[in-house]
């Protein structure tokens, strides 16, 4: 079932971005085509960043926009973009169930869709880079960030338990994330310019 990714492609039948670009149908939502294109590009970028192929990204973007359109027609959403990202993340969960990027071993009975060796290699590199970036964070910042992300603790709880102000906790999380992302970008740059460094 996990392999059905491409199969129902034609069965979907509704290509949101095609309709929008052709400018044919009148829109029921107050969103412009430019908005839809922006959302679609953001979702594409997100799925690619999660380490999936362009094909998967196109499929997920397609599915996400179809669902998003459906939800926005039903009523107001607090945030269009937040909903789009949430839907896209769930699509990936549905497709690659139980497969976490750095997580547990793939089940023996897993039907197919095992990652290709190059993806495994590149994920290993990413993981190594992420680990070393985590190690380079100041200890307090790392502790706060891990509590927030890995243990899913709320900002007020971390603040209370670590004797910090909520503003300080929030700042540590934001700065920590930003530092990690910067470290990952530097790695991507090196790889992108095909230098042999690292």
């Amino acid at each position: 079932m996990a392999c059905g990714v491409r199969q129902d492609h034609s069965a979907i039948g509704l290509r949101v971005e095609t309709a929008a670009e052709a400018g044919g149908e009148p829109r029921r939502t107050d969103l412009s085509d430019a908005d839809w294109r922006a959302v679609r590009h953001a979702v594409l970028a997100y799925v690619r960043r999660r380490g999936h192929s362009q094909d998967v990204a196109e499929d997920v973007a397609q599915e996400s926009l179809t669902k998003l359109l459906h939800y926005t027609r039903q009523g107001q959403t607090a945030s269009l973009y937040a909903l789009a990202f949430r839907i896209a993340a769930n699509c990936l969960v549905d497709r690659f169930r139980g497969e976490s990027r750095y997580g547990d071993a793939v089940l023996e009975t897993h039907p197919c869709g095992e990652p290709l060796p190059d993806r495994i290699a590149s994920d290993r590199q990413r993981l190594a880079r992420l680990n070393s970036a985590l190690e380079r964070l100041p200890p307090l910042r790392r502790a706060v960030l891990l509590r927030r992300r890995i243990d899913n603790q709320s900002i007020p709880r971390i603040a209370a338990e670590m004797n910090l102000s909520t503003a300080a906790v929030e700042k540590h999380v934001v700065r920590g994330l930003s530092d990690l992302r910067k470290a990952m970008e530097d790695g991507e740059e090196l790889k992108g310019s095909s230098r042999d460094a690292q």
Binding site: R50, S79, A82, V93, A143, N152, R175, L180, R181, M184
Partner: protein
């Protein structure tokens, strides 16, 4: 193209915000505005969200734990190694402490129950394990030809040892879940409704009105209308983490989830609130924050009277 420091920091800010139990409408509007305004912002957010959603590797040891605990305990400074060991084996130790060596030599049913906010790992005689959620209770009865667990209230995850000759079934009121060897989660919600999610193997969900066979990755919600398939989300397979995704469900079901963790009793005062349909992602292990989130997004009022929290709809 690398984004500027400012864009990256803003993206980090929004990713953290979007992963809170609830965010208010103003945050949503501000976020959309920020995303809409610049392609660089969208790109930076996509990359940051991917970093967040991919997750971080869980460190085997957390040296900083010792450092931090040091502020509360001098002994920690003197015995950092020991402290580390303690810190890293919290799960193992508590799990071990909670595992009940349930060697059922008789066929009498045996009960296990948990307090709000407490979770238990229970090892059954045949090697099956039950992960009991907070404020939950099960009765276990093993017969030579049948293994039966009655989920009296709350929720539980099951990892069942394979035994073809002895089916394992979970009785959750109007719903009966029959399995051979598999991992799944059963959740008793309000008004007899039940959720079932399967992470490995297959189960049969049987009710008076019909049955459905679920394979790994399938989830259902059983209501008085019958069995409805629902999409399984990442939070469902990691239910013990305390996150719960409400997909247009009555408030009474969400409150039932909060009761698993809340030390304060929660009551819903009127039918209107009970049937208020809720959409959102909530950290039910932090009931106060989740309730605040619901209060800010929906038309309900919270009041505290003699140690009980009441939810009502303002007139």
């Amino acid at each position: 193209m690398t984004p500027s420091e400012k864009v990256r920091t803003e993206a980090a800010f929004w990713v953290e915000r979007m992963n809170r139990p609830a965010f208010d409408a103003r945050d949503g509007a501000a976020f959309d505005q920020w995303m809409r305004s610049d392609a660089d912002n969208r790109e930076a957010f996509a990359a940051m969200a991917a970093l967040w959603d991919d997750g971080f590797p869980r460190p085997d040891a957390r040296p900083e734990q010792a450092l931090l605990d040091g502020s509360n305990s001098r002994a920690a400074d003197r015995f950092p190694a020991r402290r580390r060991w303690v810190a890293t084996s919290i799960f193992g130790a508590s799990a071990a402490a909670l595992i009940v060596g349930a060697l059922i030599s008789t066929t009498l049913p045996r009960s296990y129950s948990s307090l709000p906010g407490q979770q238990q790992a229970i090892q059954l005689a045949d090697g099956s394990t039950v992960h009991l959620g907070g404020n939950s209770r099960i009765d276990v009865q093993y017969l030579p030809w049948r293994r039966t667990v009655r989920l009296e209230r709350g929720e539980a995850g099951f990892d069942v040892a394979h035994d073809t000759n002895r089916p394992f079934d979970v009785d959750a009121g109007q719903v009966d879940v029959v399995v051979l060897g598999t991992a799944f989660h059963v959740d008793r919600l309000a008004q007899g409704r039940v959720g079932v999610a399967v992470t490995r193997g297959a189960v049969d969900v049987r009710t008076l009105k019909g049955s459905d066979r679920l394979a790994a990755g399938h989830a259902v919600r059983v209501t008085d209308r019958g069995i409805e398939r629902v999409a399984m989300q990442v939070e469902d397979s990691q239910w013990s983490s305390g996150w719960f995704v409400a997909r247009n469900i009555p408030l009474s079901d969400l409150v039932e989830k909060l009761r698993r963790h809340s030390k304060t009793p929660i009551e819903i005062s009127d039918d209107k609130s009970e049937n208020l349909m809720i959409v959102g992602r909530f950290n039910v292990s932090d009931p106060d924050a989740a309730l605040k989130g619901i209060e800010s997004s929906y038309d309900i009022e919270l009041s505290r009277r003699s140690g009980t929290l009441y939810i009502s709809t303002p007139n």
